[in-house]
């Protein structure tokens, strides 16, 4: 008796006797009775209340940012809704709205030094921080994961080369390196995305290389090699999926790091233009108010609300990141730790 499974031919056994054997465990080979790892992780994530809460906060902020003002692409209105009660760029001073007006029913978060409605600016400002956060992390993954995977799988001089580059870039603190790139390119949206990508990819490269070094020792990799699978398909189908969990966790947490960096760059006046409603850029004007000293009441709302929205978002993304880590790794075996940049 013989049977063929893939390229393996198994001979010399009696299928009848195998079928009759008492099952050792409850395992059956029926399709659909066991859940995939991702599915199990999702089940666990759903039960984690703080992580789901964090996810809700992120979705809410994203929705508010997208629907704050209508979006036009090439003069076609793609998104007609406007949640923001005022145009975030409209100078209220020209409309008779006074500058530095405290929070009221008309202006929930008050107005800034030019009489602009702060509530509209804060929810609209989410567009900059959130989009740069997600785009920069996605691009950094796109660069870092392949390079780290190649480095870990092949070893040798390729590994040496890539890891030395990573070491060298790690010699610069996160923000200082981003500042150096901006010193070269000048400021702007895509300049900032590029700077944060150049700074960001190294952490994924180092992380996935380490994971792959341990994953590739597994028997199933040896089995795949023995069956003659190509390097590319071994890396893509067997190694990377098993090494990705810590990378996904790190990437989620890094969205928070990038958002903090965007705010810091905006605050330093090296992010977007001064008219942009980005959170850090809004805050850079409040510093002047503080240094000049108050004329009359202290306009605390100009400082408090944009900052709180950053804290809220970064905290939410950290809860989600921790939730994903617990979901993939309920025993807490792996510790991706806080990578750098956590103290921005």
């Amino acid at each position: 008796m013989s049977t063929e499974r893939g390229r393996i031919r198994i001979t010399g056994f009696d299928p009848e006797r195998v079928e009759e054997r008492e099952p050792i465990s409850g395992w059956t080979d029926e399709v659909g009775t066991t859940k995939g790892r991702t599915e199990q992780a999702w089940e666990r994530f759903k039960r984690n209340r703080s992580a789901v809460g964090g996810a809700l906060v992120i979705v809410t902020m994203a929705v508010l940012a997208v629907f704050a003002r209508p979006i036009e692409v090439m003069s076609i209105v793609v998104q007609p809704f406007a949640i923001a009660p005022y145009d975030p760029a409209e100078l209220g001073l020209l409309q008779g709205i006074s500058a530095h007006k405290g929070p009221s029913v008309d202006h929930l978060f008050g107005t800034d030094h030019q009489g602009r409605d702060l509530f509209s600016r804060v929810i609209y400002g989410g567009r900059w921080s959130l989009s740069i956060g997600f785009i920069a992390v996605a691009l950094a993954l796109f660069v870092g994961v392949p390079l780290g995977a190649i480095s870990g799988y092949y070893g040798g001089w390729v590994d040496e080369l890539i890891m030395r580059i990573v070491d060298i870039l790690y010699a610069f603190p996160f923000l200082v390196l981003a500042l150096a790139v901006i010193a070269i390119l000048g400021r702007g949206y895509w300049e900032m995305v590029l700077a944060l990508t150049i700074v960001g990819w190294i952490s994924y490269a180092r992380l996935i290389r380490g994971e792959i070094l341990s994953v590739k020792e597994n028997e199933y990799v040896l089995a795949a090699k023995a069956l003659g699978a190509r390097d590319r398909s071994i890396i893509l189908k067997h190694i990377v999926p098993n090494a990705m969990a810590p990378v996904i966790v790190q990437a989620t947490l890094n969205v928070g790091v990038v958002v903090l960096a965007v705010a810091a760059l905006g605050f330093l006046g090296l992010g977007l233009g001064p008219a942009a409603a980005e959170w850090g850029t809004i805050l850079s004007y409040t510093q002047e108010t503080i240094i000049q000293g108050p004329d009359g009441a202290i306009p605390w709302w100009v400082t408090v609300f944009p900052g709180l929205s950053i804290v809220l978002f970064v905290m939410a993304i950290n809860l989600v990141g921790d939730g994903i880590r617990d979901a993939f790794d309920p025993q807490g075996e792996t510790d991706t730790g806080g990578d750098r940049g956590g103290a921005l």
């Binding site: 996160f174 510093q287 240094i291 900052g307």
Partner: protein, 315 residues
């Protein structure tokens, strides 16, 4: 591997990294779009052509690029970072600004350690109890709060509202008591930013040690819990904290850059931001190089101290 061989090997590993750091820093000037001399002279069409020619000579722009690099490196090794048309001698600028940053960084570092180690120990000893939860939530806030915003809030409350601190540094020497008083707010801002991470690492390192056999032995001997924690466990778990504390240098530098701007502190970070705004690239280059080299040295020291503290560690 003996400690001596490890030290030599680790020192040799620094050389390629330092070389790479110098190449990256050098390339800042090369990668700027447009003619570097025009950029350095502020894109001024009325700029003195003689000044432009002098700058061209100083930067050796007529030589091939590798010669430019070697000449630049030779200058840097003699602490000559060039002469900026805007701020003058770059080394001099750095030397006048450096003490303020070191003072701020050192104070922030001390505050971080003083807060994080006791908090981490306390959270570990009371694992899964109220204190642990409080420390977890505090750490979450610490990680999510932008440094500069915390600084702004402290300025708002303590300078504007309560009036305890001036909102710009007094015009006195660095070690004058009123200057040190002013420094308190920026140092707290800088220190608390690193506290969150350090405290969590201290906690997990303590929790790991507390589960070890020797702790059970010590308890079984009837040693008071205080002695077990402070004499046995704390010493062992501090080893990993030493490394992290050294690695913290990078985040301290990042924090200092932003906090110096918030508090108008006359340090290197504020100079760096001003220089980027003015496209004063020679100053940017000098500061970035200094930061890179300092971090490499800090990481080297961390590894060496780690190896010295824990004889099991040899690579």
């Amino acid at each position: 591997m003996s400690l001596r061989r490890y030290v030599i090997k680790r020192l040799l590993m620094v050389i390629p990294v330092l070389f790479g750091v110098s190449v990256i820093t050098f390339s800042i000037m090369q990668l700027v779009p447009g003619d570097i001399v025009d950029v350095l002279l502020g894109m001024d069409p009325n700029a003195d052509p003689e000044a432009a020619e002098r700058l061209r000579q100083e930067l050796h722009l007529d030589r091939p690029i590798w010669e430019q690099y070697l000449l630049w490196l030779a200058g840097v090794l003699q602490l000559d970072f060039g002469f900026s048309p805007i701020t003058g001698d770059v080394s001099e600028t750095i030397v006048t600004r450096l003490p303020a940053t070191i003072l701020l960084g050192a104070m922030g570092w001390v505050i971080a350690l003083v807060l994080a180690i006791p908090a981490g120990v306390y959270a570990a000893v009371n694992k899964d109890e109220l204190a642990d939860d409080v420390s977890r939530i505090a750490a979450l806030f610490g990680i999510a709060t932008p440094n500069f915003w915390l600084g702004l809030m402290l300025l708002l409350v303590f300078s504007l509202w309560l009036g305890w601190f001036p909102s710009i540094p007094p015009d006195v020497s660095l070690l004058h008591p009123s200057m040190l008083w002013y420094l308190l707010l920026p140092a707290i801002t800088l220190g608390t930013a690193s506290t969150a991470l350090l405290m969590r690492i201290m906690r997990s390192s303590m929790v790991e040690e507390l589960n070890k056999e020797y702790v059970r032995t010590a308890r079984a001997k009837g040693l008071p819990e205080r002695t077990v924690v402070l004499k046995h466990v704390l010493r062992n778990s501090l080893i990993s904290v030493v490394t992290v504390a050294a690695l913290m240098t990078a985040s301290i530098v990042d924090g200092a850059v932003v906090i110096e701007v918030v508090f108008s502190w006359p340090g290197l970070g504020e100079q760096l931001i001003t220089a980027i705004g003015q496209r004063d690239l020679l100053v940017v280059q000098g500061i970035v190089l200094l930061v890179g080299v300092s971090i490499v040295i800090a990481n080297l020291l961390a590894d060496l101290v780690y190896a010295w503290l824990d004889p099991r560690i040899r690579y």
